[in-house]
Assembly symmetry: C2
Homo-oligomer: 196 residues x 2
DNA sequence: ACGTTAACAGACAGGTCTGTCTAGTGTCAG
DNA sequence: CTGACACTAGACAGACCTGTCTGTTAACGT
């Protein structure tokens, strides 16, 4: 009884270990043996839970997507003003990029080491489609004259901020991107819809 | 006689093969055997020319940097107007991203599969520093009020365009980034310096 | 003619990686 | 008590990867 379990299940420990190691060092660099050692789990448990390494990679990326989604939606909900809600997406990224463990976009990193039709590419596409749809909705709600085009520009800023913060070891790129996003949004808003 | 050689040297063929395979499939995924087979070169020649695989990776990335540098500078020289010269950096990227073989930034891709103090990370930092300095100079010559800040924003757009064009298989991201860059430049230019 | 140099082909060692398999341990329901 | 279940430990096969080594061939300068 007490809590659900005195020790987390093998699956949970494997996912936690994969999340940490794959993100820090890359899905290709980190071998199965490293993951099971870090998780304190037998190899057979890994193959019983996830089938093969690709299955573990997929679960790792899906978990990353869900975490990111929850962080962003949580940030958005803290605001009422439509412009603030849109910019909250960048605030969420700023928070992530400020952590010492930040290593850029898990999806891009994973697909950079894999072939174009790999699990990583599939999950990356899904995650990008969600982000783009979210930004399009937020742009529309903020009164953008052309939500789709503005969202495309915001995606570029978001991607560029992720890359820059990682490669230059400097989260300031996210603040710069947020500032440009605010400028673009203001320029794109239909004046008649602006409330005093 | 005739041309310099009836056949390119082993070093040249190795670099060409490495450039093609490493860029298309990743420095980690592609093994030494694949490279020498594709180059039609003996393994001993590779180790004689480059010492080890890291040496080949370094030469591959340095070659990529030089090619990119030449492409960009060639584009810039085609223009006299300072704003056009700055935007030529994005035109050069648009040309690259339109090719079917485009796979994003070779430096980011290579460093995504390697540890933070690897050859890839070093060459990536060098290449990024060059790009940032170039954009700062071009921004200054175009009359930007704050060349350093504008360059930082342009780097974000450049990175974001590279990532977007790759992950979405759509070079339109570069055109969007170029449009935003033109807007930022116009907003940042000191009006007094504009010539009629 | 001769030595140097660059290049070739390919075997080999030593290591790592994925994935399978055997065998044993602990827990819990009925 | 018993059987199902989840898990552990670790050996193993087969593939692949880097780097070394041996031996051969061809061009070129002196």
């Amino acid at each position: 009884m007490s809590v659900t379990s005195p020790r987390r299940s093998a699956r949970e420990r494997l996912l936690a270990a994969a999340d940490e190691l794959f993100y820090a060092e890359g899905v290709h660099t980190v071998g199965i043996d490293r993951v099971i050692e870090h998780a304190g789990v037998a190899k057979a448990s890994l193959y019983s839970c996830f089938g093969n390494k690709d299955g573990l990679v997929r679960a790792y990326l899906q978990g990353r997507h869900e975490q990111r989604r929850n962080r962003i939606l949580g940030r958005i909900e803290q605001h009422d003003d439509p412009s603030d809600r849109l910019l909250a997406v960048f605030d969420s990224l700023a928070e992530s990029a400020a952590k010492p463990s930040y290593r850029g976009c898990a999806f891009y990193n994973a697909s950079a080491e894999s072939d174009p039709d790999s699990v990583a590419a599939q999950e990356s596409a899904a995650s990008r489609a969600w982000t783009r749809a979210l930004l399009t909705d937020l742009a529309r709600e903020a009164g953008a004259a052309d939500p789709a085009t503005l969202a495309a520009q915001l995606v570029i800023l978001y991607d560029g901020a992720m890359v820059g913060a990682r490669q230059d070891h400097d989260p300031a790129a996210v603040l710069n991107a947020r500032a440009v996003a605010a400028t673009l949004l203001a320029a794109n808003q239909t004046p008649s819809r602006v409330r005093p």
